[in-house]
Amino acid sequence: MREIKLTIKGRGVIRGVAEGLALVSGQNLSLWGGFNPKTGLIIDRRHELYGQQVRGNVLVFPYGKGSTTGAIVFLEAVKCGNAPAAIVNIKTEPILASGALMAQIFYRKSIPIVDKLDRNPVEVIRTNDYVRVNGDKGLVEIRRV
């Protein structure tokens, strides 16, 4: 089968470069009550990614939502080694961006985030595509075999 390669361009929200297998959802995701940082699993029963492992994957979803406690859930995931490798959003909301920003500051761990892309990432990227997220340049490279 022919390999597909594609690069989409957007805004780097959080700097750094990381890659991994994509985990894609068209639904918004809340960290508080939606994700267990101690296991890396999505625990929101109403979410289509329910039961999926986030650790080391490139998480692709439209927006974040939810509580003002969210950023600390993200930091706990980083502390426990269960954070995603990178995140791609249509638009990143402040709670998630703050969480990833503080992961750099407190744990020296970079989880690059790119948003506002020239194509809708939720439609272009498919689960299990190999994705490289470049938060320095705002690029998302997609490889599908």
């Binding site: 009550g33 402040p94 500051i105």
Partner: protein
């Protein structure tokens, strides 16, 4: 982002490592969201308080700031802790959990956090004035500060709220700017104002949050004699079912002397009607189940005021709650003290109900008791209890809640 000379020195570490750390966080958030500058704040409020929510990363960060020897530079109030700080043994909180919670208490103490331990700091001395900038988290307090007090804050998140308190500043974007405070969605409440009861307000909030998400609603049809408690409970529900951080009520809230002011001379983008049918349907939707046995009744989300506690005491006077049903009422130390002086506390405790302070059902480990069905008069609690407390939920008025504690069930 433009920084003053002083702020540049803060970021460079001239005022110590904790101020530098705080400025790094605030400048980083400001850069992402296109803030042009920082604004000084009158106060902060932080959710870096319950162990259940902030976990070990939270303990570590509180202690890191505390060890750096810094103090909050503006009055910074504390959200509820993850257990009743005095009666936790009586409520069977595990020792290792309590030990971590106490580390948070000590660290926040060193930082000079004001230990109100409440989600209602606006009833306990954190009272910014109209137009003043503040840096708050706790979604129910943020919506109250913006809407009812006319103060200005974004929905800060955990740790960023501590950074705001330490640096005394926040990046100026979003709700700090006039143009982002304009009402967008007109909500026409078509229920006779005189017939609106306490129990209707969280339902109105829940309906609004669900439909407007994070847009700014203008509420038409709320009577001018609406109480602070009703607004407190309505806003909390709207901030839970949606991300509402500001609403206007023409003739009631300070930035909306009239509809024109709330709209800042623009037109509204959308209209929504809320009649008796929508109100009834929303209340049904807030329940996971509607009848049957109730083993846990929990109220005080947000924390009960002294007026609300007085009402419960009046309803419980001379009554005993049923064996097998727990009735827990969450409030602050200050309100508890008033309730003791006024005789309400004794009435409540002698009925078999309990007054728990400085915590609530959502941020303490309520799931350890194995309750099956919770009843509450709180829209915010009804929204979160199924996931956080792992119970079924029935939403009802305080009169209905008290009835359920006596009968042990709802028909």
């Amino acid at each position: 982002m433009y920084l003053t000379k002083q702020e540049e020195r803060m970021l460079a570490g001239d005022f110590g490592e904790s101020v530098m750390l705080a400025m790094k966080i605030l400048a980083g958030v400001g850069d992402i969201y296109g803030a042009e500058e920082m604004t000084k704040i009158a106060s902060a409020h932080t959710v870096m308080t319950p162990y259940r929510d902030i976990m070990d990363a939270g303990v570590e960060i509180c202690e890191k700031f505390a060890e750096l020897g810094t103090k909050y530079s503006v009055p910074t109030t504390l959200d509820p802790a993850g257990m009743d700080l005095q009666r936790w043994r009586e409520f069977r909180i595990p020792e290792d959990y309590a030990e971590r919670q106490m580390r948070i208490v000590r660290a926040q103490g060193k930082l000079g956090g004001i230990p109100v331990w409440t989600c209602t700091p606006y009833l306990h001395g954190n009272t910014p004035l109209l137009g003043q900038h503040v840096g708050w988290s706790e979604s129910s307090a943020v919506v109250f500060a913006n809407s009812v007090m006319g103060a200005r804050t974004n929905r800060l998140t955990a740790v960023v709220d501590m950074a705001a308190g330490i640096a005394g500043r926040v990046p100026k974007f979003g709700l700090h700017l006039d143009e982002n405070r304009r009402g967008e969605v007109l909500i026409k409440i078509e229920v006779k104002p005189k017939t609106l009861k306490d129990i209707d307000y969280p339902a109105i909030g829940y309906f609004i949050g669900k439909h407007v998400a994070d847009k700014i609603p203008i509420l038409m049809g709320i009577p001018p004699d609406v109480t602070i408690d009703q607004l407190k409970n309505m806003g909390a529900a709207a901030a839970a079912s949606g991300s509402v951080a500001l609403y206007h009520i023409p003739g009631v809230t300070p930035e909306a002397e009239n509809l024109g002011k709330a709209l800042q001379k623009e037109n509204w983008k959308e209209t929504l009607e809320l009649g008796l049918r929508e109100l009834r349907e929303t209340k049904e939707e807030m329940c996971i189940t509607i009848a049957g046995e109730v083993d846990f009744v929990a109220v005080g989300c947000p924390h009960y005021s002294i007026r609300e506690l007085a009402k419960v005491a009046t309803l419980l006077k001379g009554k005993k709650i049923r064996r097998g049903t727990e009735f827990w009422i969450y409030t602050t130390k200050h309100v508890e003290m008033l309730a003791k002086r006024m005789g309400y506390f004794d009435i409540i405790e002698s009925s078999g109900a309990h007054v728990l302070t400085e915590t609530c059902m959502l941020v303490s480990p309520t799931d350890i008791y194995g309750f099956e069905t919770m009843m509450t008069d709180s829209g915010k609690c009804a929204h979160y209890a199924p996931t956080l407390c792992k119970t079924e939920v029935i939403y009802g008025s305080i009169e209905e809640c008290v009835k359920a504690t006596i009968k042990g069930s709802v028909q």
